[in-house]
């Protein structure tokens, strides 16, 4: 009787869980391409500009000019910080290069989240990794810093993702889930 009750409670809790809509394959590819274009284009060129300003500053004899160049360099650094932030939102860079676990940990760290990850032992295929990673990363961006979040991922071709989160200082937990058909 007790077991049946627990099963019923679990099933009804799952039914209440919010359904998240994962990005499709073409959206994931587009986002990856956009992040690469931003990194290889604007971010790389502006970083080179920062170096150029550093070289000019080193040869500037006038302290006023050097001070103005230092201000310009700080502005360039701020612009790069903003572009990096945009790039990470579009497609977390570590997700592409290192996989689902490191990618999600990187986003959680940037967002100031406390994360508990429960991932399959073997790394997912490229498409599943990319789509599941973006789904979870996008959800992280909706959470307040200091939130606690648990992510569980299972399956390979049919990937099931469940996310439970709790606001800082709160006691209520919210559950979300998604199913992705990959490959």
């Amino acid at each position: 009787m007790m077991h049946r009750m627990v099963r019923w409670l679990r099933r009804s809790a799952t039914r209440r869980a919010g359904l998240l809509r994962p990005p499709d394959r073409s959206a994931a590819r587009l986002r990856y391409g956009l992040e690469r274009a931003l990194h290889d284009g604007a971010i790389t060129d502006i970083s080179a500009l920062a170096l150029e300003l550093g070289v000019i500053s080193a040869s500037a004899g006038d302290s006023d000019v050097a001070a103005k160049l230092a201000v310009a360099q700080r502005r360039v650094t701020d612009i790069l910080d903003e572009l990096r932030g945009v790039g990470s939102w579009i497609y977390p860079p570590v997700l592409a290069s290192a996989g689902l676990g490191p990618g999600l940990r990187a986003v959680a760290e940037r967002r100031g989240l406390r994360l508990l990850l429960d991932l399959p032992r073997d790394e997912l295929g490229a498409e599943a990794r990319s789509r599941a990673g973006l789904l979870v990363a996008d959800h992280f961006h909706t959470l307040r810093p200091g939130s606690v979040v648990r992510v569980r991922v299972r399956g390979r071709r049919i990937v099931r993702v469940s996310i439970t989160d709790q606001r800082p200082g709160g006691s209520a937990r919210r559950a979300h889930r998604a199913v992705l058909r990959c490959g």
């Binding site: 971010i43 060129d45 080193a58 290069s97 100031g112």
Partner: protein
């Protein structure tokens, strides 16, 4: 020596290094060429882009091979992103004569010179942006970090950057003795293991602690 696949950044780095009074022994667009050059011409420090060929993180792979081939060569890894994942990979390669910085944050003669001098001197150099995020991020008010005083938090951040006691003292305008006292208090309050006087071990202990605070918590979930 430099390995960087972006031509503009590579050329800018050469000019800046020369302006800082350094000699550039070689300049390459990928890691393989740098490894071949280091094998025949060992240098003080090799500067590598993390995201360059071969592969997505070719700079890290190249750094690993350079460290195995020539352990005496210092390594400075540059990236457009300050990420704990990259930091952990860098620490796996080595904890001495090594550094990880954001590209645009070394775009000045003084900061670049300081970074290279510290690496050549055997230190570990960690991007301050990342150290700050690890110390101040997370928004937690209940953890042991919140028990640290403002001064201790500043000292912890500078330790996470890999700074030695004298450098911390200089940065905070306090005595080296005061730095030692603060470090002892930090290790006690955070319950950190290890010897706080051995530089690279204490950096590792601090970073491991800060990373554990940010992720994979709490119990009961």
């Amino acid at each position: 020596m430099i390995a960087e696949d972006g031509a503009l950044f590579r050329e800018g780095l050469v000019l800046l290094l020369r302006a800082a009074g350094h000699e550039v022994a070689g300049c390459f667009a990928d890691g393989e060429a740098l490894i071949a050059a280091v094998a025949t011409d060992p240098v003080d420090v090799a500067v590598l882009d993390i995201r360059m060929p071969p592969g997505q993180e070719g700079g890290l792979v190249t750094a690993e091979r350079v460290r195995a081939l020539r352990p005496e060569v210092g390594l400075l890894l540059l990236s457009h992103y300050a990420e704990t994942h990259y930091l952990m990979r860098v620490l796996e390669i080595g904890t001495e004569r090594i550094g990880y910085r954001l590209k645009e944050r070394v775009a000045g003669v003084r900061v670049l010179g300081d970074t290279l001098d510290r690496i050549a001197g055997g230190e570990i150099v960690i991007e301050p942006v990342l150290a700050r995020r690890l110390v101040h991020g997370g928004g937690r008010t209940d953890g042991p970090l919140s028990a640290l005083s403002e001064r201790e938090t500043d000292v912890l951040r500078l330790m996470a950057e890999g700074r030695a006691n004298n450098a911390i003292a200089g940065e905070l305008f306090i005595s080296a003795k005061s730095v030692e006292k603060n470090i002892a208090a930090i290790f006690t309050k955070l319950g950190l293991p290890g010897d706080a006087t051995v530089h690279h071990r204490r950096v590792l202990a601090v970073l491991a602690y800060l990373q554990a605070q940010r992720i994979d918590g709490p119990a009961g979930w």
